[in-house]
Amino acid sequence: MLRIAGGTVYDPANGVDGIVTDLFVDDGRIVQPAATVAVDRTIDATGMIVMPGGVDVHTHVAGGALNFARGLVPENQRAARKFLHAGDRRAGLGGMTPTTFATGYLYAGMGWTTVNEAAVPILSARHTHEELHDIPLVDKTSLVLMANNEFVLDLLEAGEAERARDVVAWLVWAAKAYGIKAVNPGGVEAWKWGKNANTLHAPIEGYGKVTPAQIIESLAEIADALQLPHPVHLHCNNLGVPGNFETTIETMKVLQGHRAHLAHLQFHAYGGSDWGSMRSESARVAEALITNRNLTADAGAVLFGDAVTITADGPWQHLLYQLTGRKWGNLDVENETGCGIVPYVYKDRNLVNAVQWAVGLELLLLIDDPWRIFLTTDHPNGGCFWRYPEIIQMLMNREFRREEIRKLPEMARQRILLADLDREYTLSEIAIITSAGPARSLGLSRKGHLGAGADADVTIYPAKPDHGFLFSYPRYVLKGGTIVVEEGEVRDVATGREFIVRPACDDAIEDYIRPLFERFYTMSFANYPVEIERLRHPEVVNLPRHP
């Protein structure tokens, strides 16, 4: 048994706020100490901060799109941090789109122990799981793209809600996913006609009846009916567009009565009518989110500097490409989704970028219930995950934040609220937005807390006044009870597990899907679903049948 002695523990899920106490770890879990078991190792955490390991609710770390991005930006790989082969540690690159093994080292090196890959087409799910397997030190979940899947849209068009539910259930299991992702509902399908879906209540291109609102509501309903641990994970329509806060608030209305998670809310909280008049509407979006208690969100904050934008939102990426005039990658994923990739630089002297930077922080500060807004940068879209400590520093230190605001152009400062926000995050609130909250939203009952029975994913930070530095270099990181990081150095390369769900569905649904698939796809049906044997460390959650 391992004892973590004398640390100041922040475990908000169990109401522990900065109490000096001992934690005991046995067989990979946090345990209540039994007198009969001997302590064979003690970590002296006196004067240190002990938190549950970080949980990233929305990131892009594996799969076809990310690999495409890696290939598209060799110039970034050249400048990236190098990981040299050493002992058990594999070689790799950090940077904007880190390689698989390096992704694990970087996350764990920062104290994060669970990540959610937020966009997987079924067609590239096999590849995604191979890459997820190669990301060590963190446990993984993945979400399968569903809001532009033509099988599902055709059923919604035909009003066959029950069959749509069974098809979604079958597809989730086929992809060995953990939940449902919806990206620009209907918009990616319309992109195949060179169009987009800008309004929620108009039929989408190529369909007579089905609207984005209907797709959103149906998928939310299906996620609830299938009793998925994580609700529908929604990338709203009109991402990135000035004036899109109205779409976001309208989407929240559509979602009333259902659980849902709104991804990278920052990209959906802009006012104005064009790039020149763009301004922050974080106050109205934050207020709407606070009111709609069925919803959670993640920030999708932006940091100045290089980024690579990767999203299934093909039409938006084409627009972004036209704005940047640099490089553009576009993928058509048969009947399922699309994908666009554009390298991007966020500049503090750029009005639009400055507003984006502020909106991310404003949402984190204005939404005063930390259980409902989580720390993300929509890695690598708004910035790299390994820069999270920079955001934590700005959240915890008002003066530092104001110094940063002073660097913005005067015109940008008039378009944002950030300078007026006095809130400073406490350590307990940081533990919520980085760990306890996302774990709860993902429905991972053994993550994000340090109570008995929890996975022993623990991060121990040295107590220092400079919080950015503090979160960059944990003193120890435990993954499943093993010390994997010590003094910022990777000590052990334990493999992570993958959480997947098996929703209940009518077995006959395969007879419906097979002929459609054979007619419309380019590959053989037998090669479509990912075999469970492909996953080397799966943890299957069997879901009960719909009541």
């Binding site: 598209l72 930006v73 060799p74 110039e75 050249r78 640099r326």
Partner: protein
């Protein structure tokens, strides 16, 4: 002057970016011998391949068949580097100052992404002279590269400033996606010179095939060429500028981008 003499040419590429005045000048002979080089993936010492002689200083001479020795003079900022023989790929890559002289040929990526200094090659060079590495937005940002012989594909690809002069013919895609600077082709080029060029000048003293996206603008004798000619004459490669000898036909493009580059083709007075 420090002299390094290569023994047997290595069977696999030897990466030797330490062979530059910046690294070598402050070191003793023993320290130079101990510098790391990579033979394939294995780390070795300079002394495993080179005999090192002479006195420490800003002048470094490398002798031997160096065709498989890569990255010589990488990032150098000062001094003189002389290669007596043929040099391998990436010679003078990212250099910021000083000068490099090669008595034989140079490989691909000569002076790639350099931002200052002078490279003179007496023989021929490979492809991607002064180019941007794959994916990067801009190649050579300043400095001068003079090649007496011929050169390969994509000479000056995405270059932003500086001058490249090639004596012999060059292959396809000279000035590909060029953003600025000057390429002088003393014996012309093969296909698609200036493809996707945005800005910059390609001067050809021999007729070259032009893309249909370049349009004829004028026949004239640009004043700036007098200055160029004077400067280039100091390297022993004069270019004509006098209207008594002929004139330049100016083509603008590449309209496919659309770009505002120019290709000047010398027409001797008949």
């Amino acid at each position: 002057m420090i002299t390094l003499t290569l023994g047997d040419a290595p069977a696999v590429p030897l990466e030797a970016e330490v062979l530059s005045p910046d690294t070598i000048a402050p070191l003793s002979l023993e320290e130079i011998r101990a510098l790391p080089v990579f033979l394939g993936k294995r780390q070795r010492r300079v002394a495993d391949f080179f005999a090192v002689d002479g006195e420490s200083g800003d002048v470094v001479e490398v002798h031997g068949d160096l065709r498989r020795v890569k990255w010589i003079g990488r990032g150098m900022s000062r001094g003189v580097l002389r290669v007596r023989g043929d040099a391998g790929m990436h010679l003078g890559s990212a250099m910021t100052g000083g000068s490099i002289e090669v008595s034989g040929d140079a490989g691909d990526w000569l002076g790639a992404e350099m931002s200052g200094g002078m490279i003179r090659v007496r023989g021929s060079a490979g492809g991607q002279v002064g180019a941007a590495y794959r994916g990067a937005l801009s190649g050579m940002k300043d400095g001068t590269i003079v090649i007496d012989g011929s050169a390969g594909l994509e000479v000056g690809m995405r270059m932003k400033r500086g001058t490249i002069v090639v004596g012999g013919p060059v292959r396809d895609f000279a000035g590909l996606q060029m953003k600025g600077g000057t390429i002088v082709l003393r014996s012309g080029a093969e296909l698609r010179a200036g493809a996707w060029m945005n800005r910059g000048t390609i001067i050809s003293l021999a007729p070259i095939p032009l893309l249909p996206t370049f349009s004829y603008a004028a026949t004239y004798n640009p004043t700036f060429l007098r200055l160029y000619a004077r400067r280039l004459a100091t390297f022993g490669c004069a270019i004509p500028f006098d209207e008594r000898d002929g004139a330049y036909r100016r083509y603008t493009g590449d309209a496919a981008v659309p770009g505002r580059g120019e290709i000047l083709v010398w027409q001797p007075r008949s």
